[in-house]
């Protein structure tokens, strides 16, 4: 009987043959945390030891509120920087890098066949590279810092077969919104998701990251794409070759197989206040909004910025809409700058903000007032997430957000004939 990716990698690392449902204890390769590191340090100090077991495994990225917007956030960052020095954490990325999931990825810290745990729910992102990556809480990270061990239940796996080809102006974001809308926010609870089929193979790494990132929004423990030449080339360019690819077997047992044909997929929009409240853009077209956000760990990479710039070039954003552009990292910002995209955003009336999480979690840089509506490329639209509990968040692809930003109302990007 064949094994899924998750069964195989957890079995390999636990040193035993496992099947879905088994509990294993593994030692992760990377342990990610961000601004919440200060709270984790606080828990770690209660454990009665002074040294992190293996500081080489820690990856700490300041991204949630950068630069610090208040004294208490500043204090938080200060505590983290002191800890990083004290414990000699090499993989520390201060406020001048970007969002943790992008930064960890672009430094090649989530190679195929590795195990990454992170104190962030969107740690699922690294499945795009064939890593087993899973989100946990703060106590758990503090405990793993000390013991270098984590217990995990081997998940069942849902296979999602992507057939056909994406039509123009339809993107990875539309694929995952469609899947979540059809299947529900708890469809993959406690389970892994493997994306496969020709539609999956055709996606860029950045697009695969969108799917894996948002797999968290259907409850998935982890997500996975079969690593291919795109992945190998990416790591080769970084000079990283010491990894062992782990793949699922042809005859692996899946709890369910879902097929989606991309040929006729429309742009999708998730409506307030749940990510699975998804409609085709045609059903929400014309809805006015106040703020647009293009960025976040879901859609702040070069390919996202390129599509947005292509639509915004030579146009002005609607005078009643505030448009925020937040590249996912300094590296992505630099690429966008070199390609002239930042100039386009600037001239069209967008506000370009430094890489980071921005207002996605309602902490700073464009929070919403009561009654306001946002159209965002982020991954969550929960009530109150971007500010007031009486505000409303719609989620869509960078193309849909950019097209709508010009119109001042939600617009089908396929109508942007260039």
């Amino acid at each position: 009987m064949g094994q899924t990716f998750s069964e195989k990698i957890l079995g390999k690392r636990a040193g035993q043959k496992v099947k879905a449902g088994d509990i294993v204890v593994v030692s992760p390769d990377r342990i990610l945390s961000h601004d919440n590191t200060a709270a984790i340090i606080n828990e770690f100090r209660k454990l009665g030891i002074s040294q992190v077991r293996d500081p080489e495994k820690l990856v700490i990225v300041l991204d949630h509120v950068v630069p610090a917007s208040s004294e208490k956030y500043a204090q938080n960052h200060k505590i983290i920087r002191e800890f990083v020095r004290e414990q000699r954490v090499r993989n520390f990325f201060d406020i001048n890098h970007g969002i943790c999931h992008q930064v960890l990825s672009e430094h090649g810290l989530a190679a195929p066949g590795t195990i990454v745990i992170g104190a962030d729910s969107h740690t699922t992102t690294y499945g795009a590279f064939g890593a087993f990556s899973v989100g946990v809480g703060r106590s758990e990270v503090a405990s793993v810092w000390a013991t270098d061990e984590l217990w995990l239940r081997v998940p069942e796996t849902i296979k999602i077969n992507l057939e056909g080809q994406l039509p123009p102006w339809v993107y990875a974001k539309d694929i995952i919104l469609k899947i979540i809308g059809d299947q529900g926010a708890d469809k993959a609870n406690y389970q892994a998701v493997e994306f496969s089929g020709p539609g999956a193979k055709a996606l860029s790494l950045a697009s695969r990251m969108v799917l894996c990132n948002m797999a968290a929004e259907m409850g998935a423990k982890n997500a996975y794409f079969h690593p291919d030449k795109k992945v190998f080339d990416f790591f080769q360019e970084l000079g990283i070759s010491d990894y062992e690819v782990v793949t699922s077997d042809e005859d692996a047992q899946y709890s369910e197989v879902i097929n989606l044909n991309l040929d006729k997929l429309e742009p999708q929009v998730a409506c307030p206040h749940t990510v699975d409240n998804v409609r085709p853009v045609s059903e929400v077209e014309g809805l006015p909004f106040h703020q647009a956000l293009i960025g976040t760990c879901t859609n702040g990479r070069l390919e996202d910025l390129e599509v947005a710039a292509q639509i915004l070039r030579g146009k002005k954003v609607h005078p009643q809409v505030r448009v925020l552009i937040i590249p996912a990292s300094q590296k992505e910002l630099l690429k966008a700058l070199e390609k002239g995209l930042i100039k386009i955003f600037n001239e069209s009336g967008c506000v370009v903000i430094n890489p980071g999480c921005g207002p996605c979690l309602g902490a700073h840089q464009g929070v919403l007032a009561p009654g306001e509506v946002a159209l965002s490329t982020a991954n969550r639209n929960f009530r109150g997430r971007m500010g007031s509990r009486d505000s409303f968040i719609y989620l869509a692809s960078p193309a849909t957000v950019a097209a709508s930003a010009i119109e001042g109302r939600i617009k089908d990007p396929r109508k942007c004939l260039l």
Partner: protein, 170 residues
Amino acid sequence: MKGKVWKYGDNVNTDVIFPGKYTYSPLTPEEMAQHALEDIDPEFARQVRPGDIIVAGRNFGCGSSREQAAICLKAAGVQAIIARSFARIFFRNAINQGLPVFVQEEVVAGLNQGDEVDLELEKGELVAGGKRWLLPPLPLMVLKIIKAGGLIPYTRQKLADSREDEKKRT
């Protein structure tokens, strides 16, 4: 222990349990409790009493990995959460905070907002309105963590024990 039922629907997410705007403020558990469920039920934090239980639908605690979602409910005095299902990170976080969580469909169907209940955690038994339900037993690993008062005290003890063993050997 006796308490009252707070009942909610499906997909109660971590942003409504503990809003993101407070997540990176250094708050004590008691301060966190004052914001518990603020964006879905502003009455909760004002009226919850120690021993109360939360009864909810599917996917309770979906969304962010923020552990404050579990901490604030525990600090508010919530004795246990019984739901049709839990989001996995919340499930782990609750256990890691020593807050028992159970998946039991019949309890969810049978209890209403404000019902008086008597929950005996040790026996895994819940009594309300003359009815008695059994809660599914928790796995051994989980029980150990809850009994220790959460993952941090559990790990602390484990580390201390292994240092002790080391000493004995040398």
